[in-house]
Structures are given as structure tokens and as C-alpha cells.
């Protein structure tokens, strides 16, 4: 497996993560990520056949509690943290592109 990550791959992963890098940033991040991924490669030398993966140290499973409704009236407080609001709603740019907007 190729251990080095190239700029094309970094761009692809950035797209998946909803991030954007300009050319200068790509030139900086690519070797940094490459050297860390090289370090990740060291794990391959350890045989893990038959070893179960561990995703959490917790010993709790399926913790249940009563489904109790509680009153919550925090709409205004919540909206205070929203970047843009209108009429008690969170405002975002148009979701449809221009063409579909014409059809509205």
C-alpha cells in the first residue's frame, strides 16, 4: 500500500470533510499528513490476526432510562447562538440553485 498521500488525495479527503485548501495550504498540509500517515503504517508490522477490535473501554451496554417528557422553552436562548435568524427561524442561503429557484 502506498504510504505517501498525494495532493490529489488530500483534495479528495478535504471534500469529504467539507474543508478547502488553496495551493499553498495543499503544499504545506500534504507532506505533514504524509509523514503522520507513514507513522500510521508502523501498525502494519504488528500481527493482529484473531484480535478483536476495541472501540470503547466502557463496560456498559444498552443503558435504559424512563422516557419522560420534560418541558423546554428555550427557543429564544437557542436562536441567540444562531448566526442568522428571521422571524424566529434560522436563516440560511437558498438551498436550491438559481434555475430551480425560477420554478418556485
Amino acid at each position: 500500500m502506498a504510504s505517501q498521500i498525494d495532493q490529489q488525495q488530500v483534495k479528495h479527503v478535504a471534500e469529504l470533510a467539507k474543508l478547502e485548501f488553496n495551493d499553498a495550504e495543499l503544499a504545506k498540509f500534504t507532506p505533514q499528513l504524509g509523514s503522520i500517515i507513514d507513522m500510521f503504517e508502523e501498525l502494519q508490522e504488528q500481527n493482529t490476526d484473531g484480535v478483536d477490535p476495541m472501540y470503547s473501554p466502557t463496560d456498559r451496554v444498552n443503558v435504559m432510562r424512563e422516557d419522560v417528557a420534560v418541558k423546554s422553552n428555550e427557543r429564544e436562548a437557542l436562536l441567540k447562538n444562531a448566526p442568522d435568524t428571521e422571524g424566529g427561524l434560522i436563516k440560511v442561503p437558498a438551498i436550491m440553485d438559481d434555475e430551480s429557484e425560477d420554478g418556485e
Partner: protein, 490 residues
């Protein structure tokens, strides 16, 4: 007034006897902060008006016998949400974020009438080991202002070391309580995974994160940790095990006679700076003289895989946890975003700092199609092997000891350009989080005037044995009594 060497039980008694008032204590904390924080920069947000008002109210109500923390000023890491008080995670993304609820640990402290003096600096979203990744400023080490305080709970450790408060909350995902404690000559304990509710700790790596305290003494740490521990309906991983009164057994009868301490050879190998090794060997010798049995014929062969496996798993969890920052409901939204897609991409690109982006990238990569088995799942299997290393050693030993860090605090700016070197600093702390065990960093001595921490690792939910050993060491040494020369005091 100096109270930063105070024992909490004594402080509580003095408050009850009206030898000191909550307002005097709180004023003293802010006086000290004003004296030191221009240099140290431990705090992002100070809560002065509210804290003084609260202290006055508590003085008027009287100090309740069952509220150990009534009127006691403490600090909170700024990735733990506080209702009505700005909580930034040291990120531009949350620069103007004011939570509408309290973390469970804050609710528990409020029940005790504690005084929140303010929110401490950290590496952005707790990602880093120096506070240099804070979007706002770097905290300086009170022992040497040209050096880092460690991270990510660097502000909390520096605030305690500077004598601002006797305790500050931190979070520890891969060493973020213990490493700064080591660099600042203070006591930091990461409790067992599940001991403390994570509700309200801004999520980074959810299977690693744990809230704990950085304090001026072992006993204060035990008292404070007991208060924040316990099962919580808001966090299904929080344990319903009984929370012991750890401090009750810290007294003149506490001893380490016959205690079996393992020192794995990997923990003192050539990667550890000679000055650190000297301090730790002396500390181990001290335990031996106190009657403990030191076993150096121990190996934890998978230690070297801890850093790569941790950075795959924790970054993967981070890439998922940080998806919520999309510029829509709260947090930063890029002013130049014209479409919904641009709101996501530009807000995240402009709102996150470089280290957070690196972790998101590493995590997204490790989880992506074609790489999942080779990276994420491989690392999860290595995690099992690391947990087994601990289980094997702790089967016939009470504790594991070694240095917290391979080196003392480094110069500000010296490692920031080299993320991999920065990650390797965590080699001794991350395995503990992978296994979910409790561990403490304890003042153990100095290397060229810089503090060195002893790392004490225990069995799951056996914080008591760690506290016992730490307490005995502290009572028979005076490293913890040494404080940095700062702000005209020593």
C-alpha cells in the same frame, strides 16, 4: 492573602468559622489573576462580576456544612459548557458561543455553591499539547514564561501553578490533564473512563475523553474528583459504580508498604531525556524506601504503537464529532458564503485552525473507503493489544509508574511546525486513554529548574490506590511545595 497552598477541608472550616469569607477568597483569586495573568495568559474569559456577586450571596446565606466547595473559587477549562458564560473551546468556530445549559460536572459544582472564576485556555477543541493551537493566544508556563504550559488543559494547569486557584477542571483525551500537570508541578488525575459524566464536555474523541481536576495537592484532587463523579442519565457510558470517599483514607496511617509497583522497561528507555529519567528513578527509589516493591522486570511490548493507533482512532472520532460545526445553528458562519454548500465549506475552512483541520483530515482519511480496514480497524485491534498489556501487568501489580512526559516543558514555537514530533510527546500518556484506566501526574522533582511529573497508572475504578501512593509520596517530599517565581511572590 495567600490561599493557594490550602487544604479544602481546612478552607471549608475557616469559611464556616468566618475566619475568611467567600468574597475575600474570590477577591484574592482575582487579585492574583490580575497580578499574574498578563504574563501567564491562563484565562480566556474571566467571570469576575458574577463570581463576586455569587460569593456575596453565599456569605449572606452562610456556609452549609455539607457543601465542601461553598464559596471556594475554582476555574473551568473552556471546553466544558457553562450556562450563560461564553464557552469557546479556544476556537474561532465558537468564539461567540454562549451555552444554554451546564455540563453535568458544573451542575454538581453548583449544587456545592462553588465560585467559577473563569474559563481557561486550551489547544483548540483540546487538540494539542502546548496551548499553541488556541485560536486566541498561547498560555505561558509560570515556571519559565518562554516555555509552553503543556496541553491541552494548559490554562488550567498554569492557573493552579500560578496560585490563582487551588483547582481547575480539565479534560484528558490522550494526556491533556496529566501532561500540563507534569510541566507545571501540579497534581492532575484523569479518572477511569466512565467515572465522570462527559455530558457538556465538548466532544473530541468520545471513547477517550474524560473530565478531571488539576489541583495543588493530592487530597484536594481526591475531594474534588469525588464531587464530580457518578452515574448520569445524560451519558450512557457513565458508570453506576459507587463513588468512594477517596480522601477519607488519606491520613497519617496511609502507607505503601508491600505495594507492588511495575515499571515497564519501555517507560524508561532511551527516548526519555536523561534528566527526567534521573528524577523518576529517584522517585521510585523513594517508594522503595517507604516499603513498596518495585518491579522493573516488566514489559509492555505494544507501547510503541500507542501514538499511531491513538491518532488514528481519536482523529476518526474527532472527524465525526466535529461534523456538527456546519455554520447553520450556532457557531461561526463565513460572511462570504453564498450557497448552502459554501456555508458548510467556508465556515469550517475559516472557523477551524490548522491542527483541528489536520485531525479532521487524518480521521476522515482513516475512515474513508479503501482505508478503513488498514487504518481504523487495524488501530482498534492494536487498542485491544495495548489494553491487554495493561491487564497483564496489573494482574499481579497494584500500580504502574514511569514519567508522564519524556521531557520537561519545551520552548514556545519549538515544535509547532512539526506535528509528528508533537504527537510523539504523548507516547506515555495515550495508552492509558486507550485502555480507559485512571492515571495521575504527580510533582516528582526538577530537571534544570523545570518540573517533572511522575505518572501513576492504576486498575480501572481503583483511583484509591493511585491517591494513596500519591498522597504518601507528597507527604514525604516537598516538591509540591515549590512554586514558580511570578508576580512578585514566590
Amino acid at each position: 492573602m495567600k490561599f493557594n497552598d490550602t487544604d479544602l477541608t481546612q478552607l471549608h472550616a475557616d469559611l464556616q468559622a468566618k475566619k475568611v469569607s467567600a468574597k475575600e477568597l474570590t477577591k484574592a483569586a482575582f487579585d492574583r489573576i490580575k497580578e499574574t495573568d498578563d504574563d501567564v495568559k491562563a484565562f480566556i474569559t474571566l467571570n469576575e462580576d458574577e463570581a463576586l456577586k455569587r460569593a456575596e450571596a453565599i456569605d449572606n446565606e452562610g456556609i452549609a456544612t455539607d457543601k465542601l466547595l461553598a464559596g471556594v473559587p475554582l476555574a473551568v477549562k473552556d471546553n466544558i459548557v457553562t450556562k450563560g458564560l461564553k464557552t469557546t473551546a479556544a476556537s474561532k468556530m465558537l468564539e461567540n458561543f454562549t451555552p444554554i445549559y451546564n455540563a453535568t460536572v458544573i451542575e454538581k459544582l453548583n449544587d456545592q455553591d462553588f465560585i467559577n472564576v473563569g474559563k481557561t485556555n486550551l489547544d483548540e477543541f483540546a487538540m494539542g499539547g502546548s496551548t499553541e493551537n488556541s485560536a486566541f493566544f498561547t498560555t505561558h508556563n509560570p515556571w519559565d514564561l518562554t516555555r509552553v504550559p503543556g496541553g491541552s488543559s494548559g490554562g488550567s494547569a498554569a492557573a493552579v501553578a500560578a496560585g490563582d486557584v487551588i483547582g481547575a477542571l480539565g479534560t484528558d483525551t490522550g494526556g491533556s490533564i496529566r501532561m500540563p500537570s507534569s510541566y507545571n508541578n501540579v497534581v492532575g488525575l484523569k479518572p477511569t473512563y466512565g467515572r465522570v459524566s462527559r455530558w457538556g464536555a465538548i466532544a473530541f474523541g468520545s471513547s477517550f475523553d474524560q473530565i478531571g481536576w488539576i489541583t495543588n495537592s493530592v487530597k484536594n484532587n481526591a475531594l474534588l474528583t469525588q464531587i464530580i463523579s457518578g452515574q448520569d442519565d445524560h451519558d450512557m457510558t457513565s458508570s453506576d459504580r459507587q463513588v468512594p470517599n477517596w480522601a477519607a483514607s488519606l491520613n497519617e496511617n496511609t502507607n505503601v508498604k508491600g505495594l507492588k509497583i511495575a515499571v515497564p522497561k519501555e517507560y524508561l528507555d532511551e527516548g526519555i531525556q536523561p534528566g527526567v529519567r534521573t528524577v523518576i528513578n529517584k522517585a521510585l527509589k523513594h517508594f522503595e524506601e517507604l516499603g513498596a516493591i518495585i518491579d522493573t522486570d516488566v514489559s509492555m511490548p505494544h507501547t510503541k504503537y500507542g501514538v499511531p493507533a491513538y491518532y488514528i482512532l481519536a482523529s476518526s472520532e474527532a472527524s465525526s464529532n466535529l461534523q456538527r460545526y456546519d455554520g447553520i445553528r450556532y457557531g461561526f458562519r463565513a460572511p462570504d458564503a453564498k450557497t448552502l454548500e459554501e456555508v458548510y465549506v467556508k465556515s469550517r475552512t475559516q472557523g477551524f485552525g490548522d491542527e483541528v483541520k489536520r485531525r479532521i483530515m487524518l480521521g476522515t482519511f482513516s475512515l474513508s473507503a479503501g482505508f478503513y480496514d488498514a487504518y481504523f480497524n487495524k488501530a482498534a485491534k492494536i487498542r485491544t493489544l495495548i489494553a491487554q498489556d495493561f491487564a497483564n501487568v496489573l494482574k499481579d501489580h497494584d500500580l504502574i509508574m514511569g514519567p508522564t512526559g519524556a521531557n520537561p516543558a519545551f520552548e514556545i514555537g519549538s515544535e509547532i511546525a512539526d506535528p509528528k514530533t508533537m504527537y510523539m510527546n504523548d507516547i506515555l500518556t495515550v495508552p492509558v486513554n486507550m485502555a480507559g484506566l485512571p492515571a495521575m501526574s504527580l510533582p516528582a522533582g526538577f530537571d534544570n529548574g523545570l518540573p517533572v511529573g511522575l505518572h501513576i497508572i492504576g486498575k480501572a475504578f481503583d483511583e484509591q490506590t493511585i491517591y494513596n501512593a500519591g498522597y504518601v509520596f507528597e507527604q514525604t517530599t516537598d516538591f509540591h511545595k515549590q512554586t514558580p517565581k511570578l508576580g512578585g511572590q514566590d
